[in-house]
């Protein structure tokens, strides 16, 4: 007879709560009769609830459930605690933008919640199947979100492109996973790690599978040469969706990269390190160079995202030196710090576009920021801090993110890689400076007052100030990232 045991649901309580809430929002939307604030409020409450659940169930122990498919460890919890506020900020920033375009329908909030659920599953996945489920849940929600403005040809095209390429990436990833399964005979990530370490599995098959896994991950991260979808999707999607796409998922992406490559395939580090090195170097170079040519701020930030993801990968690849994980803690700390810092800066950057947009007008061209210092010195100052932070100039958090990654790279002995990376961040400084130039040196062409709601103004201000404050006192976030990566390492 089938021996059925109820899985332990407690470790996944936040996910289950969010799932229930997302379904509830879906239903309530049907009967709310156009009271759209209700869905918004419920979505925010769901995220706050998740935050509370994760926070109050926080402990140092790693618990697995669902037949070892799902793990609740401190690494996952800390990343999730950074994830919820990021999504919540997205909702605050995007709300008036969506309302002005009649896009703030219930579906939007439901899809955002499902996307969040997908990211949470990705972060907590300890099994190839649950990991894939998380990726697909996020991806399918995002495809729909990109196309949520169904009358916009640009958005539809972007969604189509995103969907086709995303499906191909999923295929690659699945194919790679199946190769690994074929070689090792397990889909459980920790189990794979142990078996490979004991010499299990045909190396050729494993490396063959690894190539597809890395390619699939690279697609999802959007690093060169698998980046083609990034600028078009960032550009085509409604800015509120771009905001979501360009921020919180980076945390989840970091988690799956670490779990798959480090926990699962650490024995093949010498192989994937070379791949990541090429991906990272190409991303940093091409992302920064192509960003220079952009006149559209969303596209520029998309290319900048590519280069930032390249930088983050540098932190990931620096963890293992010649099979020795001696520098792993610092390296994964730097990658985590980078991801958190990037999410904060990216939220602010796209938030500024939303701030300046209004009914019937998208402030998405760099030109639209002309003379912002005249129109609103305060928000010009916020954008200034965000841009210098992205360029990696101190005292802003982006500098410390770059610094920590470079430190990890130098520790791993890749001195020339560090020199290469800093040379291209010099190139990068140029296009961030251009935004500052437009805001401060040019005269305004647009004199419309900024009509964003108050909660958004305050939050965006806090976001900008946080970029500066965390740059002055980075020790707190550093400790946070270090706990996370420490928990990740002992959980292996």
């Amino acid at each position: 007879m089938i021996n059925f045991a109820m899985p332990d649901l407690y470790p996944a309580s936040a996910e289950i709560f969010l799932l229930i809430m997302a379904c509830a929002v879906l239903l309530i939307d049907l009967v709310s009769g156009g009271r759209r604030w209700l869905c918004y409020l419920l979505a925010q409450l769901s995220l706050a609830g998740c935050f509370g659940i994760t926070f109050f169930t926080l402990d140092g122990q790693a618990v697995t459930t669902f037949s070892n498919m799902f793990v609740d460890d401190l690494f996952a919890d800390l990343l999730k605690l950074a994830l919820y506020p990021a999504v919540a900020m997205t909702l605050v920033y995007g709300r008036s933008y969506l309302a002005a375009r009649n896009l703030d329908r219930g579906e939007f909030y439901v899809l955002v919640l499902f996307a969040t659920l997908g990211m949470m599953v990705m972060i907590s996945a300890s099994h190839f199947v649950s990991l894939y489920l998380g990726i697909e849940l996020l991806a399918l929600s995002m495809y729909a979100l990109v196309a949520i403005d169904r009358d916009s040809a640009r958005a539809t095209e972007a969604a189509m492109k995103y969907f086709v390429l995303g499906a191909m990436a999923s295929g690659l990833l699945l194919y790679g996973m199946s190769m690994v399964y074929g070689a090792v005979g397990s889909l459980e990530i920790a189990e794979i790690g142990q078996r490979v370490a004991l010499g299990g599995g045909n190396k050729t098959v494993l490396v063959f599978g690894l190539v597809f896994v890395v390619a699939g991950l690279a697609f999802k991260l959007g690093v060169v040469p698998f980046h083609m979808w990034v600028p078009d999707v960032y550009h085509g999607a409604p800015t509120a969706v771009t905001l979501l796409l360009g921020s919180a998922p980076k945390l989840a992406a970091l988690a799956i990269v670490l779990r798959m490559l480090v926990t699962g395939l650490a024995e093949l580090a010498e192989h994937w390190q070379v791949m990541l090195m090429i991906l990272a170097a190409l991303s940093i170079a091409l992302g920064n160079l192509a960003a220079i040519a952009q006149t559209n701020l969303k596209r520029m930030l998309a290319y900048s995202a590519i280069s930032h993801m390249g930088f983050m990968l540098l932190g990931v690849l620096a963890g293992i030196v010649g099979g020795d994980p001696r520098f792993a803690l610092n390296a994964y700390t730097s990658a985590t710090f980078y991801a958190i810092a990037y999410v904060l800066m990216s939220l602010g950057g796209f938030g500024m576009i939303l701030l300046l947009s209004r009914t019937g007008f998208e402030a998405e061209n760099i030109e639209d920021f002309k003379g912002l210092n005249k129109r609103s010195p305060w928000f010009a100052g916020i954008m200034l801090m965000l841009m210098f932070s992205m360029a990696g100039v101190p005292f802003f958090v982006g500098f410390f993110a770059k610094f920590l990654v470079l430190q990890a790279v130098v520790a791993a002995g890749h001195l020339w890689l560090a020199v290469f990376a800093v040379m291209f961040s010099l190139v990068g400084a140029f296009y961030y400076l251009r935004v500052v130039k437009v805001m401060y040196f040019d005269a305004p062409t647009d004199s419309a007052p900024i009509e964003a709601p108050r909660d958004m103004r305050y939050l965006l201000s806090a976001n900008g100030i946080a970029v500066a404050l965390l740059g002055l006192l980075p020790a707190g976030v550093l400790e946070y990232s270090m706990w996370a990566s420490y928990a990740f390492l002992i959980g292996q």
Partner: protein
């Protein structure tokens, strides 16, 4: 000694004050912004006075030390301290700031609060550079100081300001990024320390020293600027508003030279000795070639900018002949150049405010309408060309003596600056100040007012005082310079 954290005050008082000035907001409160900025600048200068008064010139140890944890995980500390080399620059910087505020008093009519705030914040950041004893802290201040200058040139600059601002920022960032990699490398080499004094004592193989030397050179040579990476400076000077030019010439250029003394020489002494020929050669090219370039300039600001490069060539020359006359002479020259070039740019600013031209050809016979101004201008020009009894002479003479001690022909080549400097400066003065009144613009000039007179007069006093009695300056630096030279003489690999 008082219990006050004087160095922290010198850094953060102007920065916080700058943020307060920023908070006065729009140009409706311009008057308030100006007054507040002046008050902060003067207060910022006053808090640095005890640094000099309480300074113990008998030791080369770091004084007024402060130590706090900053990023404990990576052993990065908020570590401050000054020795005889750095203390004078903090004073100089804090002294120049109120003058800059005064110089921009009337001329700047747009975004006054932002203008004043940018200068105050930059002043605090630059004090941080001179006071930092932790490499990361140094680096962070070093790079952050680019931001206000970028804005000053770009927002309040001349017609080609955007180009100049970008060139300034990217050029200097290029150098400092290479230095960042070097700093991280040193962190691991030293077993996990960012303490500069640890690095000074740490043995490093010669090959590595050479790489480090070039990484530092990339950062500091651009900042000094040395030939051939000097081309950003004339552009930046010409386009910057007067105050920006003054700070650039008086303080910012010194950051590079200071970096040589704090990083290159003590961390890589053997490489410094091995590569001294290169540095001396580049310095002499700067002194002689750039001197000739200055001669043919038609734009006054450009001329003074090239003259600055030439004078800074003297400074780097003084460092790399490794005797105390040379290094002390170079330090004196740095401070003197701070006064003189600042004053020269202010003088050009005075003329520009009235006529809105910097072309030498647009002037002539200014003495007829502006006698007080002409007297001061001529005085500063004399100092710029190294007339005895002005501060310009002291430093140049010491460096030449040191150079002759090192090698006669180097000294001889360096001494040509006395001729070239006099030639380009005095020729400019002759064309601008003397002769018959050139045109109706000059005829309508009004002489300097009380505010301008105070600013230029104070600088004139400094130039004269330092020229007649340089002892208070050399006394302070003596022990530190001797210690540095002793350190450099000992191989450390």
């Amino acid at each position: 000694m008082t219990g006050l954290p004087l160095l922290s005050l010198a850094i953060w008082l102007p920065i916080v004050g700058g943020l307060l000035v920023l908070a006065t907001g729009s140009d409706r409160n311009a008057g308030l912004a100006r007054l507040l900025a002046l008050a902060v600048a003067v207060a910022g200068f006053l808090v640095t006075l005890p640094l000099y008064a309480g300074f113990d010139a008998g030791t080369s140890a770091m004084q007024f030390g402060e130590l706090r944890e900053w990023i404990p995980r990576f052993n990065v500390h908020y570590r401050l301290g000054v020795d005889g080399i750095s203390v004078l620059f903090i004073l100089l910087n804090s002294f120049i700031t109120p003058l800059v505020v005064l110089a921009g008093w009337k001329v700047i009519e747009e975004k006054v609060a932002q203008y004043m705030a940018a200068f105050l914040i930059m002043s605090g950041l630059m004090n941080g550079i001179f006071a930092a004893l932790d490499a990361m802290l140094f680096y962070v201040f070093f790079e952050a100081s680019l931001i206000p200058m970028y804005l000053i040139i770009g927002v309040w600059g001349g017609p080609n300001r955007v180009y100049a601002a970008f060139k300034f920022f990217l050029y200097t960032l290029l150098g400092s990024l290479l230095m960042l990699v070097a700093l991280i490398w040193l962190f691991f080499q030293s077993g996990g320390s960012f303490n500069l004094l640890d690095w000074h004592a740490m043995p490093i193989p010669l090959e590595a020293q050479k790489l480090l030397f070039f990484a530092f050179l990339a950062a500091f040579a651009v900042k000094v600027p040395m030939w051939p990476v000097h081309t950003w400076l004339p552009d930046a000077h010409v386009e910057a508003p007067t105050g920006g030019s003054v700070v650039l010439a008086a303080i910012m250029l010194k950051l590079g030279a200071y970096g040589f003394l704090r990083f290159s020489l003590p961390i890589a002494p053997d490489a410094s000795r091995e590569l001294a020929w290169l540095m001396i050669a580049l310095s002499l090219i700067a002194v002689v070639y750039i001197g000739f370039v200055a001669l043919v300039q038609a734009d006054m600001k450009k001329l003074i900018a090239y003259s600055s490069i030439s004078h800074m060539g003297f400074v780097t020359l003084g460092f790399f002949i490794f005797n105390s006359l040379g290094v002390e002479g170079a330090l004196v020259q740095m401070i003197s150049h701070g006064f003189v070039s600042g004053a020269m740019f202010l003088c050009v600013g005075v003329l520009y405010d009235r006529v809105h031209s910097r072309q030498i050809a647009d002037y002539g016979g200014v003495v007829n309408t502006m006698p007080k101004f002409a007297a001061l201008f001529v005085f500063f020009a004399m100092a710029n060309s190294g007339l005895p009894a002005t501060s310009g002479f002291v430093g140049e003479f010491m460096v030449i003596l040191g150079a002759v001690k090192h090698d006669f022909w180097i000294g001889a080549a360096a001494a040509t600056t006395l001729i070239l400097g006099a030639a380009y400066t005095l020729w400019m003065v002759k064309r601008v100040v003397y002769g018959a009144t050139a045109n109706h613009h000059v005829a309508e000039l009004s002489d300097i007012g009380a505010r301008e007179f105070v600013v230029l007069g104070l600088l004139a006093l400094c130039v004269l005082g330092m020229g007649l009695y340089p002892f208070p300056f050399t006394e302070v630096m003596h022990a530190s310079v001797d210690n540095l030279l002793k350190h450099v003489a000992v191989p450390k690999f």
